[in-house]
């Protein structure tokens, strides 16, 4: 965990309301896929947590959706804006359990953390498949990026693109050894119920501090209370109490 000043070098809309932002600065504290950064915004007290989409030695890329005042403020930031960002937060995904054919499932803005994970799994010689779920065609982002890495299936609730229905409808026809997912809680719950294998789920719980101090994100697991921000956001499917 480290706090530093980062410079916005890109901030552009991918769809209506979803933006990609590149933050230039020290990324040496990011140690695993599925970790998040926590961004201080001028005039707002608490930081805003956003998952890492991808990172290099000198920059971290995030993808965020405008849902309130803070993310709205971010969407208006010009290139060159300096931001106070904490990096290297959360446990991230554990790659060691993936097996040969891991299934990656992202729902809405739960898609971004799958990207770096996907790259890492491929680098380890694994053959991942990606499912991305959206409500409708206009909301789809990063399809090209994922398609360039691995077989990628899209589901839309209204059927305007790909498979009509939820991500769980696409899971049925895929053979997988393990799963990794991030998205809204109802989706995580449905995946856990439908899955043919164990997996890891990332919970985007509301947070206070993001580094384990306030207990605002605490939840019950089979192994006792855990703080989603520090002991998570990734939990193993077998420890979650639904």
């Amino acid at each position: 965990m480290k706090t530093g000043i980062y410079t916005v070098t890109e901030n552009k809309p991918l769809t209506k309301g979803v933006y990609r932002m590149v933050l230039e600065g020290d990324t040496s504290h990011i140690t695993a896929s599925g970790q998040f950064v926590n961004i201080k915004l001028e005039g707002r007290f608490l930081r805003r947590p956003i998952s890492v989409y991808d990172y290099s030695e000198s920059a971290v890329t995030i993808i965020y959706k405008v849902v309130g005042d803070g993310t709205e403020q971010m969407s208006n930031m010009p290139v060159g804006t300096k931001l106070d960002v904490m990096t290297g937060l959360g446990n991230g995904y554990d790659l060691s359990k993936s097996g040969d054919k891991p299934l990656l499932i992202g729902g809405g803005v739960g898609v971004p953390p799958m990207y770096n994970l996907c790259k890492r799994l491929i680098a380890e010689g694994k053959k991942p498949t990606m499912i991305m779920g959206f409500n409708t065609k206009d909301e789809i982002f990063c399809l090209e990026e994922f398609s360039a890495l691995c077989p990628t299936v899209v589901t839309t609730v209204d059927g305007s693109f790909g498979i009509k229905g939820f991500v769980t409808d696409a899971m049925k026809d895929i053979d997988y050894t393990y799963y990794y997912t991030c998205g809204p809680e109802p989706m995580l719950k449905a995946i856990n119920a439908a899955a043919a294998a164990q997996g890891q789920l990332s919970f985007e719980e509301r947070m206070g501090c993001g580094f384990g101090a306030c207990m605002g994100c605490s939840c019950k697991t089979k192994y006792g209370n855990k703080r989603i921000c520090k002991d998570g956001p990734v939990l193993e499917s077998e420890e979650v109490i639904w």
Binding site: T3, K40, F45, L46, C209, S218
Partner: protein, 237 residues
């Protein structure tokens, strides 16, 4: 910020067997133990136990909790109840006892005086104010508990005012807190009457907030021409 984390902690047994040893590894000086309870018995039980711990320098008794034996009204909102807790805790402890007051009261001074009269060695103030926000889209309170404890820089003027009032009414030392987030706030809090200052919410935004304040103190002392911090305690009266 508004929180409804309640009093999340592993309980007195685990604090003594696990948390204190963990703290010892990274902090050598005495610590302040903050004790909460939902009945006089709980307060005395925990205070008596923690009093025996060498690592503990001061016992701070949080009386903002609801009294389950009295319709859930917080001990800290009634001078009589506050005095009762103070008296009971003083009986079972040897270490300095600071009573931490709730700001959600009409007359903070009478409560501070009641605690002093029963032997409190100091007063800590303030705990969080009650606050809420509403999610305009969903038309529901943002916090699951509907209301929560409001803290952070926004409450600083309220905290400062209460420290100022209590300083005029009691002789025992005051630990001032509530919204302190920069070194200038520490200075102002001390001018109001605080002997020491605590920082809560600001740490949750910047984990190095306290370190930064301590490092910047000499600069501010120079700015306001102060040689010894002791000289400014209550300096605004």
């Amino acid at each position: 910020m508004i929180n409804s984390v309640g009093l999340q902690n592993p309980g007195i047994d685990k604090v003594i067997s696990e948390e204190l040893p963990k703290l010892k590894k990274c902090f050598n000086k005495p610590v302040i133990a903050n004790i909460s309870g939902f009945s006089i018995d709980e307060y005395t039980y925990c205070c008596e136990r923690i009093d025996k711990e060498e690592q503990v320098g001061i016992i701070e008794v949080n009386i903002s909790c609801p009294n389950v034996h009295n319709g859930g009204m917080a001990f800290g909102t009634d001078p009589k109840a506050a005095a009762e807790v103070t008296k009971a805790v003083k009986k079972v402890t040897t270490k300095p006892v600071y009573i931490k007051l709730s700001p959600n009261v009409t007359d903070i001074v009478s409560i501070a005086k009641a605690c002093e009269a029963e032997g409190a060695d100091g007063i800590s103030l303030i705990n969080t104010l009650m606050g809420m926000r509403i999610d305009k889209m969903r038309r529901r309170p943002v916090v699951a508990n509907k209301m929560g404890g409001f803290s952070g820089s926004a409450i600083f003027p309220v905290a400062l005012r209460m420290v100022y009032q209590v300083y005029e009414a009691v002789k025992i030392p005051i630990i001032g807190m509530g919204g302190v987030s920069k070194v200038e706030d520490v200075f102002e809090m001390m001018l109001a009457g605080a002997t020491a200052v605590q920082v809560g919410a600001a740490n949750l935004v910047d984990p190095y907030a306290c370190k930064t304040m301590v490092e910047e103190l000499p600069k501010v002392m120079e700015k306001y021409k102060v040689n010894n911090l002791k000289d400014i305690i209550g300096g605004a009266h």
